[in-house]
């Protein structure tokens, strides 16, 4: 009996022990399984997500700013692109003044390798001796050779780091359009031109830019921008403007060349210019201002084709309409004369443009009437902005004929005095004559590229002030101007070129009336009946030459000849 009880106890004890072990085992397996499952979930299933999340935290912690986007010009008539703005890592030297014992010695050693002028030397020395600071900049943008040489010195407390700097490989070429990357307090910010207008796209900001909003809010990445500017044409135009500026001892020489069919700006330049790589060296900040967009001027006779187009379109004259040129016209107590004061008797409207007769332009305007003349100028969009992608575009001024109703104001407006527009505004409107009567919106950005996605700018018709027939008639009149006046200086052998010059007086700044200073300009397009370009050249206050026909016309011919060959347009 006792033996049976004992064996029962042993059995009971064994059974309890087994139960405990089994429970422990099951518990262990469950815990191990849970840990393994959790590991599998974190590392395998959610691995990528958490990795990206961790990187996100890292980026945020480092105040990550993406490298600014590149800017390109078109090259070889759109076959390729030419890099005009990009970023480059550049080494700079700095020191921790708290770790520097002998600042004089340190600076002497560094100045043996890196060029430091006397003025900067004392400033840097002061920085190095300031024990309250832990950062003293010594020199920015050193070469790799200089960097290696300084590193070999192993100077205590002296360090070299890299920073991203903006470089403009084309130098001065295109700087009027590009602007530069300047400072806004501590931050880098685009100033002037494309760098300013597309600051958000180029810097990768989440804020959108009017035309390319969809692209800019997708990610932090910066966008690259391809401009419509052709590097070859821009280069030639800038060289020719520099020659003009020097030869005529002028204050300013500027030009725009555009595709009248699409509104693409092919070149936009002014001299004097600046190098965006060294924009801080500029003494007169007026060179940053884009005078082709941000200032207006009285156009002078270059405006006459607009008056003719309006009058022909309204059916009140034809190119063959004859009037009697008496050399001057008296309106409301004022006498308006031709440029030479001479009378030429019977003249056709075509001859009015060829000989640039003020009396003829007034005749056409008077045939049209004041209201219709004003309506046509509005139809040509002269009272509106073009919408070009440059900040600070200035609207034209035609208040004299909008608010008042004086005959004299309409008469002077017919030959481009008393009303003022920016060169871009005028070029955009007059391009209707080259483009079957249609005005296209001018634009500078051909394409925006971001995250592999591309958005191209589509050409846009803004208005059609005159019919296609009127446009071709005025174009023929402008061809006649080139073929029969100013000694054919604008003619390009083998091609039909349409053009018109203007020598405008500059109004006095402090009083009414005009000064002795003039602005010479020429507008033209070629080939006249299927144009690949339309351009305007303007020279402010030239010396030694009285009329635009002699000053800017040869330059126009040279540029026109280059563009026609560049685009491989066969002679007609």
């Amino acid at each position: 009996m006792q033996k049976r009880r004992k064996s029962y106890r042993v059995f009971e004890s064994k059974s309890n022990s087994n139960k405990r072990i089994t429970t422990l085992f099951v518990l262990f397996v469950l815990v191990s399984g849970a840990i393994s499952a959790r590991l599998y979930y974190l590392q395998i299933i959610k691995g990528d997500e958490y990795s990206a999340f961790a990187k996100g935290i890292y980026i945020g912690g480092q105040d990550y700013t993406p490298p600014r986007g590149d800017i390109y010009f078109q090259d070889k008539t759109g076959e390729a692109t030419y890099l005009v703005a990009t970023n480059k890592e550049s080494p700079f030297i700095y020191a921790d003044p708290k770790e520097v014992n002998d600042s004089q010695y340190i600076l002497n050693e560094i100045s043996k390798i890196v060029e430091i002028n006397q003025e900067d030397y004392s400033v840097i020395l002061d920085r190095l001796q300031n024990q309250n600071s832990s950062y003293a900049l010594i020199k920015k943008q050193i070469s790799l050779e200089e960097k290696d040489a300084i590193e070999k010195l192993q100077l205590p407390g002296v360090y070299i780091k890299n920073e991203l700097v903006r470089v403009y490989p084309a130098g001065e070429v295109g700087s009027t359009v590009l602007g530069f990357l300047g400072f806004n307090e501590e931050d880098r910010k685009g100033q002037y031109g494309i760098e300013e207008y597309y600051q958000n796209l180029l810097s990768g900001s989440a804020l959108g830019s009017a035309n390319y909003e969809l692209l800019s809010d997708s990610s932090l990445e910066a966008a690259d921008i391809e401009l419509t500017i052709d590097y070859g044409i821009q280069f030639v135009v800038e060289r020719k403007l520099q020659e003009l500026l020097e030869n005529l001892d002028a204050d300013l020489a500027s030009a725009i060349f555009m595709n009248p069919r699409t509104g693409e700006i092919l070149a936009m330049a002014q001299r004097p210019g600046f190098d965006p790589n060294n924009y801080s060296d500029v003494e007169n900040i007026n060179v940053f201002k884009n005078n082709l967009v941000q200032s207006v001027y009285e156009l002078g006779s270059v405006f006459k084709p607009i008056t003719m187009a309006a009058a022909i379109d309204a059916g009140v004259i034809t190119p063959q309409t004859v009037y009697n040129d008496t050399g001057s016209v008296r309106i409301g107590g004022y006498t308006i004369s031709n440029f030479d004061g001479k009378a030429r008797n019977l003249q056709t409207m075509t001859e009015v443009l060829e000989k640039s007769l003020n009396t003829g332009a007034i005749f056409a305007q008077q045939q049209l009437g004041k209201k219709k003349f004003r309506d046509y100028l509005e139809a040509f969009q002269f009272d509106k902005l073009t919408g070009i992608d440059i900040l600070g575009e200035v609207a034209g001024n035609m208040q004299s004929i909008k608010t008042a109703n004086r005959d004299i104001d309409f008469a002077t407006s017919s030959f481009g005095q008393g009303i003022s527009f920016s060169p871009l505004r005028f070029l955009t409107s007059v391009a209707a004559i080259a483009n079957e009567g249609k005005i296209m919106r001018p634009f500078l950005v051909k394409k925006v590229i971001k995250d592999g996605q591309e958005i191209s700018t589509e050409p846009k018709v803004l208005a059609q002030p005159v019919t296609s027939l009127t446009a071709s008639r005025v174009a023929a009149m402008m061809v006649s101007v080139v073929d029969n006046s100013f000694d054919r200086k604008a003619a390009v052998p083998g091609y039909s070129v349409a053009g018109k010059t203007g020598t405008a007086q500059i109004p006095n700044k402090d009083s009414s009336g005009y000064s002795d200073q003039t602005i010479h300009s020429i507008v033209g397009f070629a080939p006249a009946y299927d144009p690949v370009f339309i351009g305007i050249i303007k020279v402010d206050n030239p010396h030694g030459i009285r009329f635009a026909a002699d000053s800017v016309t040869p330059t126009f011919r040279e540029i026109a000849s280059f563009i026609l060959q560049y685009y491989k347009v066969p002679p007609q």
Binding site: I21, F25, F28, Y82, V167, G171, E558
Partner: protein
């Protein structure tokens, strides 16, 4: 020896050994996985650095190429080679008796 085997083969000890083995396997698995992960991360980091270096040198080459293909530079080089500018090239008038006269 037989005593040791007896001890080992008791059910309780066997269970502990099995548990320890499972724990060991999980631990080793985790260590291997973690090591592999870290090694992978280092390799990725290394590759990233290489990519960055390549991108930097590619960018520098791109800038150099742009400078070298700029029209300013080409004009400078051609003038050093004493080439005449295209505008200064004057073509001789072809005489009607020239052997190169048009057919």
């Amino acid at each position: 020896m037989s005593l040791l085997l007896k001890i080992l083969y008791t059910q309780k000890t066997l269970s502990i050994v099995i548990l320890a083995l499972i724990f060991g396997i999980v631990l080793v698995g985790y260590v291997l996985l973690a090591t592999n992960n870290v090694r992978g991360e280092y390799r990725v980091e290394e590759l990233k650095n290489k990519i960055m270096e390549t991108e930097k040198s590619n960018n520098q080459l791109r800038i150099n190429l742009t400078y070298a293909s700029s029209l300013e530079y080409i004009l400078e080089q051609s003038s050093m080679l004493l080439y005449a500018e295209i505008e200064n090239v004057k073509y001789l008038k072809k005489s009607s008796t020239s052997p190169f006269a048009s057919r």
